[in-house]
Amino acid sequence: MKLAVFVSDYRLTVDTLDRLNPEKLGIILVQNGVYHATTKENGKPSSLLNKSASYYALLDDLETRGLGNADVADNVKVISYSDIVDLIFNEYDKTAWL
């Protein structure tokens, strides 16, 4: 299964994401999830970025919070709403929202 997971919180209270093991995983950081892409808590990038996955962060949600491309970790691609539509329709079979 090709699964795209939307992550919209900075603090995750469940470990569902760790249990998911699709053949292809995309993690789309939106809303407060974008902090995973930018924040280095105690000098370390978010552990969420350690998975074998393709990472994306929504530019609109970054900019709303005073963040931009320069703040984003190297393994995260900054994308637009229309890019998300492309991902949903062309790259992944299913989507989930955590």
Binding site: R11, T39, E41, G43, T64
Partner: protein, 137 residues
């Protein structure tokens, strides 16, 4: 001449919920209650950003451009304009890799004289001890 002290503690990041902005709007609104008070009575409001709440203080927020919403940044500046005491926890800024350069510190463009104070958590604790009412958001 009684003074009622209100403490607003913001501990969540902004925009996902209305919580942080509610704290600011309530604090700002508290300064317009004179009509309900007896002569000489005062209400003061202090606002402290702790934990992930310090993320609200990031400057250059573009919420109006993107969400068509006033930004938390603007609300912090309005608080300064009303001479509210705005504090940001230094330890939490450090933990999240942020410095004073990253956050809203003043509202000079509005003529505000007060600035945001970056303080150790101990000072925020001291503030909380002196409040009549504490509200956590």
């Amino acid at each position: 001449m009684p003074t009622t002290k209100l403490g607003f503690i913001v501990q969540r990041a902004g925009y996902k919920s209305e919580n942080p902005k509610l704290a600011l709007t309530h604090a700002i609104a508290s300064q317009s209650v004179e009509v309900y008070l007896n002569d000489g009575d005062i209400v003061t409001a202090d606002i402290a950003f702790i934990g992930d709440g310090v993320l609200n203080c990031k400057k250059d927020q573009k919420a109006m451009d993107i969400y068509k919403l006033t930004s938390t940044e603007t609300h912090i500046k309005m608080s300064l304009l009303l001479d509210l005491n705005v504090m940001v926890c230094k330890e939490d800024l450090d933990r999240l890799g942020m410095t004073e350069n990253d956050i809203v510190l003043d509202a000079e463009e509005f003529g505000a004289e007060l600035t945001v104070k970056v303080v150790p958590f101990a000072e925020i604790t001291k503030m909380m001890e002196g409040m009549n009412h504490l509200l956590f958001f």
